[in-house]
Symmetry: C2
Subunit: 248 residues, 2 copies
């Protein structure tokens, strides 16, 4: 199985995605927050690029919530920020959330040519790996995986790459990797016993801590606690049910 890792939203040379499963990773914090929201009963998340698009989308979806950040902080007038702790059952249960973040929602939009787009984080890694293995066993039209790290403002982000490395490591040694995939695996294997420490020292990690989001960072660095595979379906991010047919 070929796995190519991309370093950030806005990456030059996005590969051919039409026969690939794309795994989007934005550990701090978009995909961690999306996984948490769905686990807490959120009906769907609608990723949009701008605040204006979020406000317009809400006009068509009465009862939905607005979520997102700019420069790591909640957008003025929005209901929720980008902290997973904002997405509690009392707020998001049974409702849709329109979400815009600096890097994560952009990586999702950059992946739009792919037939399958899933969201990974440390929180749901085990479920992602099991779902990928099942999908490749049953779907011979998929030719490989692109792991699309959201990055931080178009730059390489160590937390995302470590998470990509955990994913690749879990698939075993026989996978074929681009150089960033090989690097991700090496970085994960040399860090797996002190992931939180590495993520704390990353540029984005230090910024979140300085803004008072240390608990977010610790939570987002916790592997395998939520059994959720979020997938993009008709422009919305929902639970994977296994009934989808993406090539129809």
């Amino acid at each position: 199985m070929q796995i190519d890792v991309l370093p950030s939203a806005g990456s030059p040379r996005i590969p051919y995605l039409e026969d690939r499963l794309v795994i989007v990773i934005d550990v701090l914090r978009a995909t961690s927050t999306i996984v948490t929201a769905l686990a807490n009963g959120c009906q769907a998340i609608i990723p949009v690029l701008t605040s204006e698009e979020a406000l317009e989308t809400r006009l068509t979806l009465p009862g939905s919530l607005l979520g997102g950040e700019r420069d790591s902080l909640i957008i003025e007038g929005f209901d929720l920020g980008n902290s997973p702790f904002d997405y509690v059952p009392e707020k998001v249960g049974g409702r849709k959330v329109i979400l815009t973040t600096t890097n994560g929602t952009r990586a999702i939009r950059d992946s739009i040519a792919a037939p399958m787009i899933w969201m990974a984080s440390f929180l749901n890694m085990q479920s992602i790996v099991l779902a990928v293995l099942r999908e490749f066993e049953n779907n011979d039209r998929l030719q490989g995986i692109v792991v699309f790290c959201a990055g931080t403002e178009e730059r390489f982000d160590l937390p995302d790459i470590l998470c990509a490395g955990m994913f690749i490591d879990a698939l075993g040694p026989s996978v074929l990797l681009n150089d960033l995939g090989e690097a991700a695996r090496m970085l994960y294997q040399s860090s797996e016993d002190h992931l939180v420490e590495k993520i704390r020292k990353s540029v984005h990690g230090k910024k979140l801590i300085s803004l008072g989001f240390e608990q977010d960072l610790i939570y987002c660095s916790t592997p395998n606690v939520l059994p959720i595979v979020p997938v993009v379906h008709d422009g919305e991010i929902v639970w994977l049910t296994g009934e989808e047919n993406y090539f129809s």
Copy 2:
């Protein structure tokens, strides 16, 4: 000292370079070849972006040679390819070479806003590190270093990142790094005893081997054998003499 590593030519978000020393790295093979050419008596290397520009430049420089590659192979009608073994004293001694390569010369051009642009490879790493330490001791206008990895066709290239990691590792633990710099250091530290093996398995390494350039790869992976610091000066790459005043 702040050190930021960029993954490839064409990187989005090139940082402010006006007060930075830029170290360009293209292990396979442009900067390895440039170092070798200068060590073998080449008078200067003139980096250009296209074959057409190379031909035009030669009109103004009688006696100069044309060097470069496209898709790893020598350009038709050129005197030299991109193999360091082409740049022997009998050919390049006392002459100028006009050079165009896919990634390396582009990274040099992308760095043009910087007052100082140096070329590193494994071959000359020790000399680069010593020259950097001396420069920062004597030059208080320099605010940091940008390590510009050329990459492969706008993609992350493991040989370049390992070389960047060797550079950072040699400067000691007190440097301040962006996430890719931290990753480069970690990757180097986990690979330093088997560098050639890692470089062999990289995408670019495998391609060079398949084209018959295995000896190039082994040579380019050899640390600290050439005492040369190539610098860009008035559009030409020459030996660092220590007499330059880049801020005048």
